[in-house]
Symmetry: C2
Subunit: 355 residues, 2 copies
C-alpha cells in the first residue's frame, strides 16, 4: 500500500487574497496548480493565477477574454445577463453562450519563490501572461522541466479554438520565449521528461477525444522539443476505481534508479480528483512497471474539499531533495498546497506491489 502523503502544516501555502491582480479593478479568484523546480538553493513555482473583473452585478456572468485586435493585446470582458436565454451555466469554471464555451476566469503564470519550500514570496506581476491567439482564454497548469541548462515550461493554452499545449523556455524566469503549440487540441497535462531517452526527448500528454476513447495518459517523443511523434498509449482510467473517470500526467517525472516515478492525477466518475503514482521503465518509458492501486493523496483537508471547484487535489510539480519528495498541488482549484513523502518508501511500496 502506497504511503499517504504528509501535508505541510503551513497549508495553504498561497491563497488568492495574497496575490495582486494583474489589472486594477480585477480580483484574483484562484492561485493553484503550480509547476515547481529547484533553482539553485530555492524552490521556484510558476503558479496559475486565475482572475476576473471585480463584479458588482450578481445578475451577470463574465468571461475575461484577450482582445487580439488591440496592440498590444489587452484583457477585456464579455458580460452576459444570467437570465439571457442563450446562456447555459455549466459549473463555476465555465459557461456556454450562443454555442461558444467561455471560461469565467483567465489565467496567467506567476513566479513564487521560497528557500525552504513552504513560505513563498509571490511576485507582484505575471511571469507569463496571455499574449497570443492560442492563449485567448488563458495560460494554465504549467510543468517546468530543467533540461540542458534551461527551463522548459509546458502549459495549457486555452482559446476559443481549443485547449492545447504550448511550450515556452526561460533561463531566468524573467523572460520567456514562446515556442508555439506542441500539441493540438484537445490536449493538456503535458510534462517533458528531464533528460533524453535513447537520444530523444519524451513527454506525457493527455488527449481528450470527442467520439471514441477515454481521457488516458499517452507518451510522445521528440528530436527537438518542438516536433512530437511516436504517440503511444501509456495507461487508461480504471473504471470504478479512484482514477476511473479520467487521468492525466502531473509532476514532471522523477528519475530514480528503479525507474521514472510519475505522479499523476485521476478523477473518479463523480469528479473527485486524487493523486497516484506510477513507475515506468527508464529506457522504455511507455512500459509501466508498477501503478499504485490506491491514491496517495485524496481531498480531505478543508482547503481541498471546498474552494472554487470542490474536491480536487491536482499536481503540476514536485521537487526532490535528499530522500524527500515535496509535491506542490492545487487544492479545490483555489490554493497552492504542499505535501511530502519519502522517495524510498514510495518506491518500495510500488515495487513490492508489482513483485
Amino acid at each position: 500500500m502506497i504511503p499517504r502523503l504528509t501535508r505541510f502544516p503551513e497549508n495553504p501555502l498561497i491563497a488568492p487574497e495574497q496575490v495582486r491582480p494583474s489589472l486594477e479593478g480585477w480580483e484574483v479568484v484562484c492561485t493553484f496548480n503550480p509547476g515547481a523546480v529547484l533553482w539553485r538553493d530555492e524552490v521556484r513555482l510558476l503558479v496559475r493565477v486565475a482572475e476576473r473583473p471585480r463584479s458588482e452585478r450578481p445578475e451577470e456572468v463574465t468571461a475575461p477574454v484577450l482582445d487580439l485586435s488591440s496592440d498590444p493585446p489587452r484583457l477585456t470582458t464579455l458580460r452576459v445577463r444570467r437570465d439571457d436565454p442563450e446562456l447555459e451555466e455549466m459549473d463555476p469554471r465555465w459557461f456556454r453562450y450562443r454555442g461558444q464555451t467561455y471560461l469565467t476566469t483567465i489565467s496567467h503564470l506567476r513566479l513564487a519563490r521560497s528557500h525552504e519550500g513552504r513560505r513563498f514570496v509571490v511576485e507582484d506581476t505575471p511571469a507569463l501572461a496571455p499574449q497570443v491567439w492560442y492563449e485567448g482564454f488563458g495560460a494554465e497548469d504549467p510543468r517546468i522541466t530543467e533540461l540542458e541548462g534551461r527551463y522548459l515550461v509546458t502549459y495549457t493554452a486555452v482559446s476559443k479554438h481549443g485547449i492545447a499545449t504550448a511550450l515556452a523556455t526561460t533561463e531566468d524566469f524573467a523572460t520567456f520565449t514562446r515556442r508555439g503549440l506542441i500539441l493540438p487540441p484537445e490536449n493538456r497535462d503535458v510534462a517533458v521528461f528531464p533528460g533524453r531517452i535513447n537520444g530523444r526527448y519524451a513527454c506525457h500528454h493527455r488527449p481528450f477525444p470527442r467520439h471514441i476513447g477515454a481521457a488516458s495518459m499517452w507518451i510522445a517523443y521528440s528530436p527537438d522539443l518542438v516536433h512530437w511523434g511516436g504517440h503511444d498509449l501509456l495507461m487508461l482510467p480504471r473504471p470504478g476505481a479512484w482514477d476511473g473517470g479520467r487521468i492525466g500526467g502531473g509532476a514532471v517525472p522523477i528519475r530514480t534508479d528503479r525507474g521514472w516515478l510519475c505522479i499523476y492525477h485521476g478523477a473518479d466518475e463523480s469528479n473527485r480528483y486524487a493523486l497516484g503514482a506510477v513507475l515506468c521503465d527508464l529506457e522504455q518509458p511507455a512500459c509501466v512497471l508498477a501503478r499504485s492501486d490506491e491514491p496517495f493523496l485524496v481531498p480531505e483537508a478543508p482547503y481541498e474539499t471546498e474552494g472554487f471547484f470542490d474536491n480536487v487535489v491536482f499536481t503540476c510539480g514536485a521537487v526532490l531533495r535528499g530522500d524527500t519528495v515535496s509535491i506542490y498541488y492545487g487544492a479545490a482549484d483555489k490554493y497552492v498546497c504542499g505535501a511530502e513523502a519519502s522517495l524510498s518508501e514510495v518506491l518500495d511500496s510500488l515495487t513490492s506491489a508489482a513483485s
Copy 2:
C-alpha cells in the same frame, strides 16, 4: 463563382459488390474515400474497403474488431442483440454498447489501378490491413503523397482508444512500412504537402476537440515526417454556410504557380458533406489567399444522396494531368466516384473572387 465539377459518366467507378472481402463469410459494405496518386502512366488508388461478417440475424448488430491477443492478430466480431438495454444505436456507422463506441464495419486499404483513371482494376487482397493496436477498429481515409522518391500514406487509425492519424510509407504499393501515430486522438483528415516548405514538411490536420473549439482545419510542420509541431489554425467552419458544421482537409494539396490548391470537405449543420477549394500561399501555407464561397461539388447524383451514409461527397485524393484535375471521392460513404475540372478555371475563379 467556382465552376462546378463535371462528374465522370462512368460513376460509380467502384462499388462494394465488385470487391472481394478479405475473409470468407464476410461482405464488403462500402468502397470509398480513396487516396489517389499518379504512378508512372497509371492512376493508383488506395480505396477504403469497409467490411463486416455477413449477418443472417437482423436481431443483431455486429462490430468487427481486431483481436490482438492472437498471433497474428485476427478479425473477430462483437455481436449485440438489438433489444439489449445497454445498446445505443447511433447511425449506420457506429453504436454504443456498455459505454464504449464501436464501428459497424472495419476498414482496410485496397489498391486499385487504371490507365485512363476511370475503369479500375481492384486487387483481390488488402494492401494495408489492420494489424496493430491503433488499428483495432480499422484503417480509413488514406491520403497518398509522392515525396522524394517514395509514397507516404497518412490514414485514420481507429481503435477503442481513439481516432488518430498514422503514417505508412511504400515504394511499390505492395509492402508498407508503418511509421506509427503521427497525431494523437482525436485527429483525422491529414494530408502531407508534396514538398518541403522553407525546409520543413507540412500537413493539414483536423483535430476534433471535446470541450472548446470547432472542427477546423489546422496546419503543422515536421523536420522528418514522424514528429510534428508548430500547430497553427488554418481555417474555421462558416456557421450557416455549406461548410458551417465541420471542415477537414481533402486531397493532398496541389502546387500551382498561384499557390497551394487545397480541396477540402465541409459539412453543414445537417451533415451534408460537400467539397470546396482554398488557395494558400506557397511559402506561408497557413496564409489563406482565397476560399470558395460556394462548394464545387454537392451530393446530387443518386449514388451521392443514397448509400451507406447519405448525402456525402468526401475526397482524399486528386490527380493533375495537364490542366485537368481529376478528383476521386467517396459518395454516400459507399462508392468510389470521380469528377474533374480545369485547374486554370478553378484558380481563376478563386483569385478573381479574392481580388
